[in-house]
């Protein structure tokens, strides 16, 4: 992986992803499960769990890179806008730095929605193992 290399990937928060996340992690907070509660809090409907995006990041690192011998070392994410059920998200990542001496690669990334608004952004550092 070389500095400046870019990656894109389409993700969708389908019913299957949403239900799978809840069945796996049991986070049924009303913001994520109750449209009325979410609307009272001035969202358009129930808000998807932010950590669904971190699951997508896991897929990106584990499955979309040119090499499989990788492990996540650190990651950070800021959530800018709510994501709703069935939203299609464009994921964009760029290799920000390669530290060959310690076999690490740092990416910057963001997810944007169908209105071209960034819903989340962050950094992720991986090790080459």
């Amino acid at each position: 992986m070389l500095k400046g290399q870019e990656y894109t990937q389409l993700f969708q928060v389908t019913d299957k992803v949403y239900n799978g996340f809840i069945e796996t992690f049991k986070d049924t907070n009303p913001l994520h499960t109750d449209d009325l509660f979410a609307k009272e809090k001035s969202f358009s409907g129930k808000v998807m769990h932010g950590n669904i995006l971190n699951g997508f990041l896991s897929y990106f690192i584990g499955e979309c890179l040119p090499q499989k011998n990788v492990i996540i070392q650190t990651q950070e994410i800021k959530y800018n806008l709510p994501v709703y059920l069935n939203d299609k998200l464009n994921f964009y990542a760029i290799v920000e730095d390669v530290f060959e001496s310690v076999n690490t690669v740092e990416f910057k990334f963001y997810f944007s929605n169908e209105n071209n608004k960034k819903v989340a952004k962050g950094k992720i550092q991986i090790g080459i193992i």
Copy 2:
């Protein structure tokens, strides 16, 4: 929530959690699914996805706090040691700061394993909505 308040929670990376994560997010990288590959990379066996811990964080914020009207704004995590299938993890979090003017609360957290080693640590900032 008040500065200095502490929370603890026990989590386990059961087969159900592990399989649920893979079924939901499709990250079948060999490090996470192939004991031989992981051992060649000098791990004791297949390494659990780091983002399983972020799923546990979702549960903590959504379900374990004294109030439900919360949303994650930012989060960061550093992975220190591998987590293996069936590992029991002690989660510890402390309220590091409360910013009443903007209705945000910042936690520091870590996960430790049964050998009392910290496997991951980080920060998470939530908004009160």
